[in-house]
Symmetry: D2
Subunit: 480 residues, 4 copies
């Protein structure tokens, strides 16, 4: 065993998992025209380990054995470890042209969160099971999707509320026996699940005692009986209306995962009934995962800023004062994100020897990009001009009767070929004025938790400091 090749990774996905897309069953995710691109993107994590250029970044040494392992499965113990992981995430996303591989990275997030939480709980059997499972994943170099968000039903109600239409809006235990448990429910918008080896299911919120059947964490193979992947379709090829580009359209699918009474053996159950720790686990996952989110956003935002600068130059406006102000605002957006993401690593919180990205700062960094993303998009759309959505298509360009007109009239600054301008507009349109662009806006808000979720954690984690600063103010006010 040890690090797997891309080929081995793909072979592992041909295991009769039940995957649906567009209402039809998928035979082989690695060859399905839509899902294939997701598989390729996910495979980047394996490719990097094979590439001498990235190997040092992608591969770490397992401390106990000295074996090479994926850095994603190296448990961070210091700020430096977190910064190294940070660098890996940013680099992988740059290689993915703005798309994160999203398999081992989120797997590391959830496994690390589990390790931390088990220690907080202090139950030996859980510590053992999780350590075993982590070792299992690490040694087999598995990819693991993280199933977090329940479908929730009425979002104002608790999982066990009798006012919900039915009791299954949050994944729950419906049976316990000697070998394990049976679970029922559904998790939604689970990224990359159909091309991961395992699914690791976590609770998505804090719970009350009445919700204890929903306080549940377990791992399950992606091809488990009763587990259904209903995938959201995605763009995977260019349209004939577009200038052909030889860079793939990378997108991950998001699935609705239905657990139709799936059996989980006890050795893969990591929380079952300990309702007090559901929130702890969800929080710990968020610290790791929102940091991961900030990392991939850095690489995305760099690209988008590059598009903005390019189109400003092509349009001949990059020296106009209002344009420079906009570019400056975009730099501020990006560099604030970068600083926050690195600061979250530099000042970790230690839990039983594991370095957790700073809870307040990591939530800040995710909040920063999400809260301001629409404003950022608006500035790029503003620089691009209305032609962003009225430009003629590649089909018009191919028509010899029209091409001359288009080439003549849609030129920008002297020296910039009209085709370059149209191609850059096409790229911007694809990212920021399209189905994908709308999806990215929604993702900014909802992937890795809503704005409100980040705000609640920032406030909640800050109570000690608030009281400390209050005491200082009281002293200055002469209150004794």
């Amino acid at each position: 065993m040890g690090l797997r090749t891309v080929k081995e990774y793909k072979e592992g996905l041909r295991d009769n998992r039940e995957v649906w897309i567009l209402g039809e069953k998928v035979e082989d995710v690695t060859t399905h025209p839509m899902l294939r691109v997701g598989v390729e993107s996910a495979a980047l994590d394996y490719e990097m380990a094979e590439d001498s250029k990235y190997r040092d970044l992608a591969v770490a040494e397992q401390p106990e054995t000295g074996e090479p392992i994926s850095r994603h499965y190296y448990i961070p113990k210091t700020a430096e470890d977190l910064l190294k992981r940070h660098e890996l995430l940013v680099t992988a996303t740059r290689l993915g042209d703005g798309v994160i591989p999203f398999t081992k990275d989120v797997a590391g997030d959830s496994l690390n969160a589990l390790m931390v939480t088990a220690r907080v709980m202090g139950r030996e059997e859980y510590i053992e099971r999780i350590t075993d499972y982590y070792e299992h994943v690490r040694r087999r170099d598995l990819s693991v999707a993280c199933g977090m968000t329940d479908v929730k039903g009425d979002r104002s109600l608790h999982p066990s509320s009798p006012d919900q239409t039915h009791p299954d809006f949050y994944v729950r235990v419906v049976e316990r026996n000697d070998e394990g448990i049976v679970v029922r429910g559904a998790k939604m918008h689970i990224t990359a699940a159909p091309y991961c080896d395992d699914i690791l299911v976590l609770p998505c919120r804090a719970m009350r005692e009445a919700d204890k059947d929903y306080a549940l964490c377990f791992a399950v193979p992606a091809n488990a009986e009763g587990l259904k992947h209903i995938c959201h379709p995605m763009r995977y090829q260019q349209s004939p209306l577009e200038f052909p580009v030889d860079v793939p359209i990378r997108m991950h699918t998001e699935s609705l995962l239905v657990f139709d009474d799936v059996f989980i053996p006890w050795e893969r159950v990591f929380l079952c009934g300990e309702w007090q720790y559901a929130g702890t686990l969800a929080y710990n996952f968020s610290f790791f995962h929102r940091h991961t989110a900030s990392c991939y956003r850095i690489a995305m935002t760099e690209l988008q800023l590059g598009m903005a600068q390019a189109i400003a130059e092509y349009n001949g406006i990059e020296r106009a004062s209002h344009v420079r102000e906009k570019i400056t605002d975009m730099i501020i957006y990006l560099e604030t994100l970068k600083s926050l993401a690195r600061a979250a690593c530099s000042d970790p919180v230690m839990h039983g020897g594991i370095a957790v990205p700073n809870p307040v700062v990591t939530n800040l960094s995710k909040y920063h990009f999400a809260e301001n993303y629409h404003r950022f998009v608006k500035m790029i759309q503003d620089l691009a001009g209305g032609i962003l959505i009225t430009a003629p298509t590649y089909k018009d360009w191919q028509n010899p009767e029209l091409r001359g007109y288009i080439e003549k009239y849609l030129g920008g600054r002297k020296g910039v070929p009209t085709e370059h301008r149209l191609r850059m507009l096409q790229l911007i349109r694809g990212w920021m004025a399209s189905d994908i662009g709308g999806g990215l806006e929604v993702l900014a808000l909802h992937a890795e938790g809503s704005l409100q979720a980040q705000r609640l954690i920032i406030y909640g984690e800050y109570q000690k400091q608030l009281q400390e600063y209050k005491e200082r103010a009281k002293r200055l006010a002469g209150i004794k």
Copy 2:
């Protein structure tokens, strides 16, 4: 002559105009699958005049003759006239399910602007020609597209700058003779042009003396020789992935209009060389047209606010404090827009007996909706949830093996059918997280002029007040 029927309007469009879409020539715009919907939307202006429910609003009386004419072609003389026009525009857009007919309305904007400008110029021949042309349009009840935005080339340069790649980035006169002039150039993102009777071409900016060949305004039939419509394709039918809805998908095309040496007789030339008035005309058009824009935005925004409230209720969150705050912010956005749009009518500027919507306030109202639109969209996306972009498709729904799971797991608040929730998400996705949604974001910024264009006018039109307020401040400072 007099008011035309819908049928007459459509018949008028079958005149061998040169229209291209997707690189192919269009035989008949009224039957072309893509353009047909635009024609239907445009026809609403004619339908309203035939409908007893809207006739009073849609039809006015020509003062000199007492004849019934389209209210769009009634020259406003009072605040009340502007408010009545305002009401017509909002109502027509409500009937268009958020889409403005965009033919006679923008025609009225440009004709009124021409009338005002001719009086400012004080040249009798222009006043006569314009009055004649206005009467021609009014009596034949024509639809007229307004060709405003030049393709511009390097946007930091003047039309006549030798640093432009060629001299034709702004439409210009290339020949003058006894019968008329010959014009060359291209206008871009011209809405609804292929299904209008005429095109009225205006300059899009202030000009210098060197630019005088570009200071040009004229009307031309849409089928004139040498005039080519290169249309941007648009969504016109539902996809099989969508729940079927029996409301049409209304969208207008935006065209690149190429003037390949088109002849214009003198009686249709309204500006030719008088560079000092190019800016005046562009400004006057903007006052009318940005007011029109504010009106259609009111109807759109009402709909979008309705979607927000619906999905908040379906998700069970409409009583959460942060949700009410967001809804409140949206109400503030909409009601500020409404107040500004009406205030622009209530305080018109009079030019030779014509009431022009208040220049500062009308630009304010357009600026208000454009500047804040992305934030508005963000709030709705936030309320809808990530499911907005990960929801299963109608194809999944149709599959009996999957439907049960979807129906069970994607329900929201008790009592709301899952299908209703999915349909509302589909509607929101269509408007605010899609190709169309991206287009609407770009339109908010660029249709009717960029944010920067509005800011410049607001500042420019306010110089007198600035000095007056400064004098008051000086008195208070004891400066004599």
Copy 3:
């Protein structure tokens, strides 16, 4: 009887009212050095009626009798009436150099709100008493302060909550007898009370049945036994560090009014126990009073914008692009306020023949200026420069050894005397970087109710429209 002169108004204030300031009792408010300026500002309402230039604006005709009355006491019946009142308020504040007289205006607000509420309640005796009292005020041309804000104690608790330290945090009835009632409690930040003839006390919030002893509205002379005015001191003269200016420093005092078991005869009791209407009355007052607030803010903001333009010119920066952008933002701020304030009048809600400024729009206009005021101040401080707070004083200027240096080195643009620049900086500092400036920031937020109060009303008053727009969205979604 009829309109009073300024002299009569002042004489009426010498009635042994119990007024305290700086811990000392005030003998005569009209001559007290600090309060005198407030009296003078309040007197503007009387002066305008005497001044032929403003008489038409300040004086109306009582419909029933044809007698001249203060326009503030004319019950508005149409949009035009509201617009006329609007004009009076803006004009009076301009005459007050940015300070509203604040006596008859707020009196009109509260009397009109009482009239509306009495009709909503439908209790004849209240309608009569209020009509009588209104006539009493109108015919004697009285000034009336409005006592709205209770001291509240723990602001998270209801008036009657047993968790409050004592039961008197909201004004309440402690005794009822044949002649009238006895009231106890305190109202805070009551503007101009010591130089009004009467105090009209209103509830400041909606109440529950348990709070019925707090559901209280009554009028009382300012010199009633047991009524104590504890006034907040204010700036009333220039410091020797300032360039002398011959415009008075106008400021109103805000008082803590203590009702130490004050007797109120039944004919001056307008609500007593009808807890259901406490909120109605508070709301109705807010509609009138927040409109008044918007009006005085217009005149203030004009002045502040004038200061910004002046200092930009003196500093030589008014053509820099970022400065023009800031001035443009300030114009947008002011003109949006103006449009909203007028729109609130143009679209009134009618209650029993009384025109109430549009509830949503009037709250919007107040919210607009309050929400954005700090940003507005920031822009002016930005344009003024650091010298705003480091400029030498008038004492330095008077020293002949220093004056030459100051005159030479603190000049700005050529042609602008250094003294002018220093005077303008002094004016800006006084308004926007001083005790008064800080006070104005706090007033923007809290006078006439907090931001949150306005948001709650906007949301609350909009429920019908929300449902209407939702229904439209449902139709578009194909939900039947």
Copy 4:
């Protein structure tokens, strides 16, 4: 020689320097009632070195000699050195109750900037002079004020522009001879100058060749002949209207420093005519000094956040959702500042062995707090309530006839003494609704350079990255 005591520092200030305040000459700055407090605050830098608790932080070891020196005079060579300096600055400001000592800190900023710039210039004589002067300051443990901002005159013009009223709006050389140079001009808002040993004068902007007489940097003793300190007065004692507090009111004076033909020997001249490096020096100073600014803002903001939390609790509103949202926004403001300030240290730019805080990030951090400060203040004013500016005074409180009423009626949450609430309001008012509060707002904008200055540097320093990101975008667009 070596580290000085507080006593020695103060003695050094009694040297007949020419200091004016309120138009009068100051005999001894250490005993003058107004300036004394500034001296005490400045002395904190000396006190910390004497205090065993802070000695490790305040004192470093001079690498060449092993001697103890002020850490402010230790040239940073690594990220860790910058972080240690960061910690010293934050700690010193916490000890100063929110006010930075501002003598050795800014001295270190300017000396380090000089060292970096001399190396960039590569002129040996300058490197030597600066090294000598740095050693002079270090060994004598001097305090040094930095004279940066010229008085500028017309701010749209260059120093040498003939359109300026006179040529002395920027400090310039008026004579050169064998011993040195004679300088003329004035620097404004120079903090703490009258109680520093030396003044180090730097250019405040980039210059052109024509401006070469203004490209000037030199050090001069604070008591040099012809050097006049015209100090801005400041608050230094409590008013009788305030509850007495035994914490001093710490404020620094800002001076207008007039150089009336002051002689500077060559060994203290560090730039004279090399106009190309004026901007370099100003930029380098800004990198160090804006980082210093971010550090002291951290300590200030902690205090202000403490006040916000305290008053929310005293008012009984800290659990209201809109209050928690505001506190959350304040935490975000503070923690973003902290992360940016630390990130500027973690990623320094190296210049000849000297670690410079990251130019982009350090400007970002200063910009962040300045851009958002007014919003932060607004939130605290909002939580405090209108009583912030209407609360009775200490004089009222002392009056036995009034105290009972005040104590009863101005209480907040049960258990919080009314006096505590009034004291906390007084503290907040002092910091955020007063002359000082206004001053802090202006300082946020202008101290250490305007918002616009930071934006220009951020944009300017980012050109390389912009091009790099653009190239990535081009690749994705298929542009070759």
